[in-house]
């Protein structure tokens, strides 16, 4: 009765550029008045972009940096800051285009070069959101997505911190975003947008005779097919559980196994050199993650508020859960545990943040805190890999958990917002009927695909880089510390 605002629902991910030009056949049909960006939305997306950068630098850099020994502090900071610089350039050169344009025959897997070097994008270009008739400036959409491309490879470097060669990191990151990140992001997040679907669906409804109906239906099918493969499967990933966290987490695991354990691992005390920095980092990750998750709504409405609330409470629940479990098992509740739980909660709620309800998110957080605790302690010790900063245990494990939970918690009867249906009632943002099994199965498929694709391709890339320039510094340099050996400076002087 008191319905003040249409909430935005969506199938997958984080938006689509108005892609009409790619489908000229439909252009004349789009006779609807061209939408103008709402300045509230534009502001929200500008800020969300800024928040995701904040989350990476200094957020992630400090979270990671605090955990290494002081002799390697600068190496971690440099790797992350340099990754941001490098990837943002690659993104505007060809990454955005490969991710968010139609790739022709390869469109299931990857886009094309139509927008390479941001060709044709002006301050007036619009990008679609998940609501019909709502657009934002394409430049801010491009920038928002750029920050995702920057943070994902930066997450990986934590897995082999304290021993990797700096030049190897740069080369690996450039290759990895090109061959792994851009394709996966395209497969999961590229689509034609709600207005294109609505226009085509309305044409179907309006078609008078069977022949016209058929033509219109073909056009609608073409619009629906103008999307990445995982999007077409119907997998749900609100803000990047698959694209960002599982993707980076599995690459990290593969990397740390290939590069080998740190000298002295298991024998020397490798205590975090500054848990203060780690705490600052965790807090800024939390703060910035609101841009990541609620910004992924692309619009400043009630659903953005929901995503913000979910990102708050799931995180709180996971932090608390890790703290309590550790207290029970190890005897003491540590700040590192609490902070790790916070990050685990943020990761787990990422794919669910715009789909689940707050109570569902809390349950997800509670589970994530406990599961990631065991992944980073028992599991890691049992298997025996040296994932320096637990990229796998937190991001991959938390990401998988969140991806699967999203399929469950989207259920309206569990407080979720339901699956969007852009076609049945074009332009009205209706909700589909929910069924548990198919919803969960498609999530599992998406997880499995990402694990295999990213795992295998990353392994190949690591091997190639190792052969060509070497992944690891000499042992003596590792002992001296990467700061002096690789960068010629020390983090702290008197």
């Amino acid at each position: 009765m008191m319905k003040l605002e249409m909430s935005c629902k969506r199938g997958m991910a984080a938006g689509a550029v108005l892609a009409l030009s790619a489908l000229p056949a439909l252009a004349q049909a789009a006779a609807a008045p061209t939408p103008v960006p709402n300045k509230g939305d534009t502001t929200w997306m500008l800020i969300s972009t800024i928040l995701v950068l904040l989350m990476t630098i200094p957020g992630l850099a400090l979270f990671y940096g605090g955990l290494v020994r002081s002799k390697n502090m600068l190496s971690v900071l440099t790797q992350i800051l340099a990754t941001v610089c490098l990837v943002s350039l690659l993104w505007v050169f060809y990454g955005y285009s490969l991710t968010f344009t139609n790739g022709g025959g390869l469109n299931d897997f990857i886009g094309g070069f139509d927008k390479a070097f941001l060709k044709g994008i002006t301050p007036e270009s619009p990008a679609a959101t998940f609501s019909n008739g709502v657009v934002i400036p394409e430049l801010v959409y491009m920038a928002f997505q750029m920050t995702f491309a920057c943070i994902t490879p930066a997450l990986i470097v934590g897995a082999f911190a304290e021993r990797v060669k700096f030049s190897a990191v740069l080369v690996f990151v450039a290759l990895w975003v090109t061959i792994v990140y851009f394709p996966i992001a395209h497969m999961v997040w590229y689509w034609a947008g709600p207005d294109a679907i609505a226009t085509a669906a309305k044409a179907v409804a309006a078609a008078a005779d069977p022949a016209a109906k058929k033509t219109a239906q073909t056009a609608l099918d073409a619009v629906n097919a103008d999307a990445g493969m995982l999007f077409q499967w119907g997998a749900l990933d609100f803000a990047g559980g698959t694209v960002v966290h599982i993707n980076a987490g599995i690459a990290g695991l593969v990397g740390c196994i290939i590069i080998g354990k740190r000298v002295g691992y298991g024998r020397d005390l490798m205590a975090p050199h500054s848990l203060t920095m780690t705490m600052i980092g965790a807090a800024l990750l939390w703060v910035g993650w609101f841009g990541f998750n609620a910004g992924s709504n692309l619009e400043a409405n009630g659903t953005a508020a929901l995503a913000l609330v979910n990102t708050f409470v799931a995180t709180a629940a996971a932090g608390f859960s890790w703290l309590i479990v550790e207290w029970a098992i190890k005897g003491k509740p540590s700040l590192l545990g609490l902070a790790s739980g916070v990050v685990a909660g943020l990761v787990a709620v990422t794919p669910a943040s715009g789909f689940a309800g707050p109570m569902g998110s809390i349950v997800l957080g509670l589970v994530a805190g406990a599961v990631c605790f065991f992944a980073c302690t028992s599991l890691k010790n049992a298997i025996g890999y040296d994932d320096s900063l637990d990229v796998f245990g937190v991001h991959c494990v938390g990401g998988i958990l969140g991806a699967i939970a999203t399929g469950i918690l989207v259920n309206p009867s569990l407080g979720g917002v339901g699956l969007p249906d852009y076609e049945s009632k074009p332009g009205e943002l209706a909700v589909k009927a929910y069924e548990l099994a198919p919803a969960v199965i498609v999530q599992l498929k998406a997880v499995a695909f990402t694990l295999v694709y990213s795992g295998v391709v990353s392994a190949i890339l690591f091997k190639v880089v190792d052969l060509v320039i070497g992944l690891r510094v000499p042992q003596e340099q590792e002992r001296e510390g990467l700061d002096i050996a690789s960068h010629g400076e020390r983090a702290y002087n008197s």
Partner: protein, 112 residues
Amino acid sequence: MKLITAIIKPFKLEEVRDALTSLGVHGMTVTEVKGYGRQKGHTEIYRGAEYAVSFLPKIKLEVAIESGLVDKVIDAITQSARTGQIGDGKIFVQPVERALRIRTGERDGEAL
């Protein structure tokens, strides 16, 4: 002259200094060190790793004095630094052949 080296618990420093001052010993040098001994350290937990921390923070106090003061100084330190609990530390006495005050060039007894 002798050099008295005392390894003590960090929070006892002020008391020991006061005790020495009241003996007329007005100079000393202090270093933050880590000690290993019978006192058991705590365990630290970091994600998968648990470390038994065996080196504990201690203060090393060095005082150069005239030989005649040795007993008094040892007593003063012992009394002010003792808690009666394991890890209270040690005192060592070593010979000093010469001493010199850099500012004035004064030597030995006058340098202290």
